[in-house]
């Protein structure tokens, strides 16, 4: 059996986020490591995005399913919390896919350090029309990882994958 890391990563590249199906778990940066033991057991180490992210259990299940389909029956999923996940680990192609899907991708974490009260992330480009004339509606959106914004030009509301 082909248990090279490259091959296993190519299998994991087919596992998508259940809430944002255009993103794979590799795009999200939640796969932290792979360990292949001699008796063909594969340990996959993943980290949650948010502490309470309900997608994690579904993702672990989907990983096992894809691995079984590919012929790997001994698969162990391990969770790690450290170092804490950050949106800076999201791949460039993942950010592009998010934007095309209608969710504004996260800007760099450093840009939101020392944010003052009532300060808003400025210039989050609208994923529909590209305008940067947008405003924050709520810092808590449809899932833990998203905020709700609105475009002042095309008037469409949109999700923003917030920095973390």
């Amino acid at each position: 059996m082909n248990n090279t890391k490259e091959h296993i990563y190519s299998i994991l590249a087919e596992v998508t986020d259940p809430e944002i199906p255009v993103l794979t778990i590799l795009d999200l940066g939640i796969v932290r490591d792979l360990i292949c033991t001699q008796d063909n057991e594969i340990e996959i180490i993943i980290t949650p995005t948010y502490s309470g992210c309900p997608a994690m259990d579904a993702i672990a299940f989907d990983i096992k399913l894809k691995m079984i389909e590919a012929g790997f029956t001994k698969v162990k999923i391990t969770y790690t919390l450290s170092p804490a996940w950050t949106t800076d680990w999201m791949t460039a192609s993942g950010k592009q896919k998010l934007n095309e899907y209608g969710i504004a991708p996260p800007i760099n974490v450093s840009s939101r350090m020392n944010k003052l009260l009532f300060d808003e992330d400025e210039n989050i480009p609208c994923p529909h029309c590209g305008s940067t004339h947008t405003k924050l509606l709520s810092e808590f959106g449809s899932t833990a990882c998203k905020a709700l914004h609105q475009c002042m030009d095309c008037k469409e509301p949109f999700d923003y994958f917030k920095c973390h």
Partner: protein
């Protein structure tokens, strides 16, 4: 028991964030407007997620020390009032939006300072959970601070409601800084920073800190208000009626 203080310290934080999460969850579909309903329930999700991480760690420590079979679920759903070590402020009723907001602001501001210290812990798992959680808590502090200002410096009605909330909740804030024997960090040392944070937000909100108030204690040692006795049967009913049930 080996590690008894560490286990109790972890359970104290787990219970505290779980009970506050349970309280906030009652706002689901009842928030004043849709966006804020979603905000408070997102905060709930973060708190319950943090509780899971702490309970999982507590279960690991207990099982290592005592050869038991505890899980995050047995710790959350099969312990009784006297076992729960949550801060009293978390078990109080939600009251109106002002009371819910003010409690969140008091607690999140404390929790932010607490996690800042826990990140430095020599216990790797404590440090990892704190580093993960503080990113979420930073959002909670910003959101609740803004609401305290918005309501305090809002209309006569919203200002009065904030004053009522302060009058009721202030007496439960002293417990943050009175150390139990099992405390993971030096909580007393956080008091000045917390007071400064509250004062800066209250100044903008045209609110003031009460003086010389009697402070309630007991939660950390399992001596609770009557409210916890009503929260637990509701929260635990599924596991009590169908032991071991899973989704």
């Amino acid at each position: 028991m080996k590690n008894e203080n560490l286990i109790n310290g972890v359970l104290h934080i787990a219970d505290t964030v779980l009970i506050l999460g349970q309280r906030n969850a009652a706002w689901c579909a009842h928030g004043p407007i849709l966006e804020q309903d979603i905000a408070i329930t997102n905060i709930t999700l973060d708190l319950i997620g943090q509780a899971r991480n702490f309970y999982q760690y507590a279960a690991l420590l207990i099982n290592e020390a005592d050869n038991k079979n505890e899980t995050e679920d047995t710790l959350a759903f099969l312990r009784t009032e006297r076992d729960f070590k949550n801060l009293l402020i978390c078990e109080l009723p939600n009251g109106d939006w002002a009371q819910t907001i003010l409690r969140q602001f008091f607690f999140s501001s404390f929790q932010q300072l607490m996690y800042q210290e826990m990140i430095k812990s020599s216990d790797n798992q404590i440090a990892a959970i704190a580093a993960k959680s503080i990113k979420e808590t930073n959002y909670h502090v910003k959101w609740s601070s803004e609401w305290v200002i918005r309501l305090g410096d809002g209309t006569d009605e919203s200002n009065q409601r904030m004053k009522n909330a302060i009058e009721y909740l202030w007496q439960y804030t002293g417990e943050f800084f009175i150390a139990a024997e099992y405390e993971i960090i030096d909580v007393a040392a956080l008091k000045n920073d917390w007071l400064e944070k509250v004062k800066s937000i209250f100044d903008e909100a045209t609110l003031s800190i009460p003086e010389n108030t009697f402070m309630q204690t007991g939660g950390k040692t399992g001596v609770h208000t009557e409210h916890l006795g009503f929260i637990l049967p509701e929260m635990q009913s599924l596991q009590r009626n169908f032991p071991g049930a899973e989704w």
